[in-house]
Amino acid sequence: MLNLSLKNISQALEKKKFTSVELTQFFLNRVKKHNPSLNAFITVDEDKSLAMAAKSDQLIQSGKKNILTGIPIAQKDIFCASDWKTTCGSKMLENFISPYNSTVIQKFNDAGAVNLGKTNMDEFAMGSSNETSYFGPVKNPWNLDYVPGGSSGGSAAAVAARLAPAATGTDTGGSIRQPASLCGFTGLKPTYGLVSRYGMIAFASSLDQAGPMAISAEDCGLMLDVMTGHDSRDSTSINRKKENYTNSLDEKIDGLRVGVPKEFFGDGLSVDVQKVIEGALKQYEKLGAKIVDVSLPNNHLAIPAYYVIAPAEASSNLSRYDGVRYGYRTKEYDDLMDMYFKTRQEGFGDEVKRRILIGTYVLSAGYFDAYYLKAQKIRRLIANDFKVAYEKCDVIMGPSAPSVAFKSGEKQEDPLAMYMQDIFTISTNLAGLPAMSIPAGFVDGLPVGLQLIGNHFDEAKILNAAHIYQINTDWHLRSPKGID
């Protein structure tokens, strides 16, 4: 059952080689064995998962089977799932049980998938190392002294260590792709608006987007087929015809124009990572792609603009945590204001408070134009750079992260160094573009991810390009040693 693709698991379930209950128990056993060292899951509930598996087995028995029916999926603890705790990695929501399902969870439930548990994450998805979680840091399965990346670090460790066949994540500035790069698997952030944000706890609403995290591009395509679709309960959900993301996986990529932005190969990129990426680009040339030079001249402004826009939206979104209707409330208080102030002081961690303060500052009287409006204008410049680039190419490629995984604690006290982790991923969130990270090699035993960025709604195209690479290489099939 280990290392099987989602397609192969699905076929095995259909042929009754094993049941969903057996499969789910197999992965629950792996979680039980390895979670104490990895800390990938916040909530595991064997009874609930096995009950879902038993239901799925009935569906399979009666011939009502979808491709993901009976397959256990680890869910990032940012997705509300009724009857499961949804903590968002925060003390503020430590005991929160959502009264309803997020659309993503509902879609997996409708497909007959099994919820394997809720995965650890940076608090409110704010972080790039999974060290800001109230529930403790997650470890990188390739080397437990290193971080898995973040904010979807629990899902990343779970997929990399094969504690789950696949997982979900969310990506506001790189939170699917950077951990996919640091943990050596395939992760995809869709076009903004393609996957519903309903019931997905909000961080920066104009940037947040959910996506699949799995071993291969094929697996990600199968999950995307389930996750996408218009949702009237999310006012930013795109109303367009639902696509199929697996039909065109095998198409030839002869003549595919791969744009390589010179700005992705400058300062800040580790020399060893650069070599791996250059090797991957050579491989693409061998597979028939044509390398084209492109430029994203405003990329260096992506992090500054992001650290205005994301905290501004976060400060607004997180104002709902006031200790009145749900979540944490401080124990002792004199009056209403005292209750608000203490609840938020005690319920939020340092990084979350820092971002709320930045957001409040840039939105405060006298600063709005200089910061928030300015950042929104820069956002358009960045989006325009991509428009120009796509006149010359079909797909943009480069590194997903500037380095391989770093040691736990190394950047924890230096927010600026941590923010630089997202230097190659943030611009696509600002522009709303789909992008993925696929394994492309190793440096000193730690994985390196190649980033593929598509034009809006070109998920099928980047999945196709990734799949062709993966059927000709085996980087994505390597898994960490010592996790049996």
Partner: protein, 95 residues
């Protein structure tokens, strides 16, 4: 770009977060660095550029005002730290 402790206390007040003197000291150092990073934006002339609030420039959709959700009042109330009857209880605000 500088920000002093009294400004930090002011924005913490706006954000409704208590902040101790010690926390304000720590936050000050980190915030200055972040604000310097943000300041880089000012190097670029954006005079004629339209601000971008949505990645695909779509507008807010409208729908008819009809009931679409089931009643989850009891479930919702059960999540609150303190309720009585069907009310959320907070410290008294009006004498």
């Amino acid at each position: 770009m500088t920000i002093n402790k009294s400004e930090i206390k002011k924005i913490a007040h706006l954000a409704h977060i208590n902040i101790s003197q010690e926390e304000a000291d720590q936050v000050e150092k980190k915030l200055v660095g972040i604000l310097d990073l943000i300041e880089k934006m000012q190097e670029v002339n954006t005079e004629s550029i339209e601000p971008m609030s949505h990645a695909l420039d779509i507008n807010q959709p409208l729908r008819n005002d009809v009931v679409t959700e089931i009643d989850i009042r009891e479930k919702s109330l059960s999540l609150a730290p303190h309720t009585e009857k069907s009310l959320f209880i907070v410290p008294q605000v009006i004498e």
